[in-house]
């Protein structure tokens, strides 16, 4: 039963991708059947979701291995397509299939009328298949297969509108930056295999069961190096410093893709990897400190950039980078289950925010269309150069009256991510900050620094998210010709997922109640009990020796709530009063610092100057001449000498039979002479 379910969960999305892909490719008439394509695509994820829920309800809290077949076997190495069903993989599978199904449904409305409808759903299903391979894998290599698979699908979907060179460039950037991380991941696997087999662990198929059982045979230096390499791999996939630059550009893809891949699922796979290997990661405290700091710095850096962005999707993209930074802080301070908890809550509210922004963009596209029809566009009184931009918040505003469902769901998710008490983000973010504080309380002073950065980031988060909401939904309608051209609410396929996700954004926090509140209510943190190793779950954690006193805990909780409320209030009050003018006030107050934020700390420019330029220039000046002269010269010279030699040889082929006969006779003479005289 379990084995069948797992196989179906894995194979149905692949089947969906195959049907839509093949039919679309070979039967052009099929491409117009949007309802069928969308239904197949959505069911291929919805059915696995139902199966996962059944599996989850019948789960006995243990780890079950579902074997399929041996992939490769050579000597002591034997890799099988084995899948692991345990608390962690079930939570991740629920997120991937559940949110995935909703976003598929949403895409049916959002992608309506797009020429590549079939292609879109085929890619999306393929992504789900790869992501499920990633989270269900029992060994690192199958996980890596999924890891590369999601990278490929991300590339395909970012460059979905490939006729625009900008989108293709963004897709390339995402793929190449990810490959840098993947290289480190590969090295980690090689090192792990080499170290394990040298220590006498055989047979060893990179499977988690063997890794956990034999983790103690490795020298601590080796463990640290392996964890470091895995972390570098994670920074690529999960967009952390120094490899975060691809994620904001990845917004070139369709908005459902941003919601599914670049917010809810794929980008959290780095966290999943660390949580999955948490017993090993805990053996490398030095690297964990690095992880926490990288996470914290990424969080605050992305948050400061987000304040200055005008593209609604860019704000959400930097917000995602920032929230992923929080998750890495949680992993770095040894609270892996909290990281997964934040993955879960973040999946809800960020998917909801992205889909909400998609709904807004959808509506603004219609506005743009209407305006063009009426002859208002192209207009010169836009606050920016060029064409009307359906994603720019400076030409939105006042949408709350026209799009009530989008507005309310967006507001709930905004408040949730800001950390307003009793919504999902409050519980998970507060738990991360508390865990950082707890580690500091237990003697690691650096954790207080991380905690401090986290607090500052929290208030920034509240401000920039509320700014985003205010500019989009409140205030004056700022697009040209706003008097008689109004946007409309999106169809039900788009609003239903929004409502479901908003409910999740409001309520999922209650599965991870803070210890203090749980104690008062006489209950416990469900997710901690479900995932935690001390209760038989798969996720290990740092064990605090000294517990933070209840009073301090209560104060921290209060501070967390207070900064969220203050941040939201600040943004609400200012942007309600002066709207867009507030941005200018901030710019004046911050001066040069604002320029730094608005230009994304010049990271892209720095990479361009230090990495991209030297490589392209070096190639042009050094490698191109080398290729043209030395490589091509060798090849061409070889061909020339062969052709010269054969021209000379060819002279012997006169075509006159008598010459050949003469050669024959001479040959006979030679042979006879040899027979006689030798």
């Amino acid at each position: 039963m379990e084995a069948t379910s797992v196989r179906l969960i894995l194979l149905l999305p692949l089947l969906g991708a195959a049907i839509n892909g093949m039919m679309g490719l070979f039967a052009p008439a099929y491409r117009k059947q949007e309802t069928i394509i969308g239904a197949i695509g959505t069911l291929a994820v919805a059915v696995p979701f139902v199966l996962t829920v059944l599996l989850f309800l019948g789960h006995d809290h243990g780890a079950h291995i579902v074997s399929t077949y041996t992939w490769m076997a050579a000597g002591d190495l034997s890799i099988s397509f084995d899948y692991r069903v345990d608390a962690l993989s079930l939570i991740m599978t629920l997120i991937v299939t559940g949110i995935g199904a909703l976003i598929h449904l949403y895409s049916m409305g959002y992608m309506h009328g797009d020429g590549g409808y079939w292609r879109f759903f085929a890619y999306l299903n393929l992504f789900i298949f790869a992501m499920l391979n990633l989270v269900l894998a029992e060994n690192l290599l199958v996980l890596f297969l999924g890891w590369e698979g999601v990278g490929l699908c991300s590339y395909l979907l970012i460059g979905y509108w490939y006729t625009d060179l900008k989108n293709s460039a963004a897709a390339n950037k995402a793929f190449i930056v990810n490959r840098i991380g993947d290289f480190a991941f590969l090295l980690a696997m090689f090192l792990l295999y080499q170290a394990m087999t040298t220590a006498g662990v055989a047979p060893f198929g990179l499977d988690f069961t063997t890794i956990f059982e034999n983790a103690d045979v490795l020298a601590s230096g080796t463990v640290a190096l392996i964890v470091l390499l895995l972390f570098i791999g994670a920074t690529g996939k999960s967009a952390q410093i120094p490899l975060f630059v691809w994620l904001p550009d990845a917004m070139a893809g369709p908005t459902p893709v941003s919601a599914l891949i670049h917010a809810a699922t794929m980008v959290t796979s780095g966290l999943y990897l660390l949580a999955r290997l948490s017993p090993v990661v805990l053996e490398a405290p030095g690297v964990m400190m690095l992880i926490a700091f990288v996470g914290a710095i990424t969080a605050i850096m992305a948050a400061t950039i987000a304040i200055t962005q005008n593209d609604i999707k860019k704000v959400l993209a930097y917000s995602t980078v920032s929230q992923l930074g929080y998750m890495f802080v949680a992993a770095g301070v040894g609270a892996f289950f909290v990281a997964i908890f934040h993955v879960l809550t973040h999946a809800f509210f960020k998917a909801c925010l992205f889909l909400g922004s998609g709904s807004v963009i959808h509506a603004m596209h219609h506005v743009e269309h209407d305006l063009e029809h009426k002859g208002v566009l192209p207009s010169s009184d836009l606050p920016y150069d060029g064409h009307f931009d359906a994603q720019d918040m400076r030409t939105m505003g006042g949408l709350k009256n026209h799009m009530p469902i989008t507005r309310w769901t967006f507001l709930i998710s905004t408040l949730a991510i800001a950390g307003i008490p009793f919504l999902a983000g409050f519980f998970s973010k507060d738990e991360i900050l508390f865990k950082a504080f707890e580690l500091g309380y237990n003697g690691a002073t650096w954790a207080f620094v991380v905690w401090g950065i986290g607090i500052v980031t929290a208030i920034l988060t509240a401000i920039y998210m509320m700014r985003c909401y205010m500019l989009t939904f409140e205030g004056r309608e700022r697009w040209p010709g706003a008097m008689d051209t109004k946007p409309h609410e999106s169809p039900w396929t788009m609003t239903v997922p929004l409502v479901v996700l908003a409910i999740g954004a409001a309520l999922t926090g209650y599965i991870g109640l803070p210890p203090l509140i749980a104690e008062v209510l006489g209950t416990e943190s469900w997710i901690h009990h479900y995932l935690g190793a001390e209760y038989g779950g798969p996720v290990a954690e740092f064990k605090a020796e000294h517990h933070v006193p209840h009073l301090t805990e209560g104060i921290l909780l209060g501070v967390g709530a207070l900064i969220a409320v203050v941040g939201v209030w600040l943004a609400w009050a200012n942007y309600r009063k002066s709207g867009l003018e507030t941005d200018n006030t901030i710019r004046r107050r911050l001066g040069a610092v604002y320029t730094l934020f608005a230009n994304k700390y010049f990271v892209d420019e720095a990479y361009d100057a230090t990495v991209v330029k030297p490589i392209t220039e070096g190639s042009r000046k050094g490698l191109a001449p080398f290729d043209q002269n030395v490589v091509d010269g060798t090849v061409n010279g070889l061909a020339k000498s062969v052709s010269g030699l054969s021209g000379w040889w060819r002279g012997m082929q006169t075509g006159i039979v008598q010459n050949y006969a003469l050669a024959l006779v001479l040959g006979v003479v030679v042979v006879v002479a040899l027979m006689i005289f030798v």
Binding site: T654, G655, Q658, A661
Partner: protein, 101 residues
């Protein structure tokens, strides 16, 4: 003076060399053809001579084989020469160099 085996073999060798030179040096396809016949018959002569010298009929049997093959070869060869002449209006082998590289 007794005519020994060496006489026959010497004559045969001379005939054979004449045949080889004819094949190599002459340009007329028919002459080349005749020279080949000369070489075959030179060989026949050695066969008969050895057969005589060793009192063995195997050589004679082989001569009949050679003669029948030569007859067949003559038929085919002449047919080729005629076909060649029809196509090229010449039997000068210097002008026929289709194999030229």
């Amino acid at each position: 003076m007794e005519i020994t085996l060496n006489w026959y073999l010497s004559l045969s060798a001379v005939l054979f060399v004449i045949g080889v030179l004819g094949v190599l040096l002459r340009r007329n396809a028919i002459i080349i053809f005749l020279s080949i016949e000369l070489m075959l018959n030179a060989v026949n002569l050695t066969l008969v001579a050895f057969s005589q010298a060793f009192a063995d009929v195997d050589g004679l049997v082989l001569v009949f084989f050679v003669m029948s093959v030569a007859a067949a070869e003559a038929a085919v060869g002449l047919a080729i020469v005629i076909a060649l002449f029809r196509n090229k209006t010449t039997v000068n082998v210097n002008e026929i160099n289709l194999f030229r590289g």
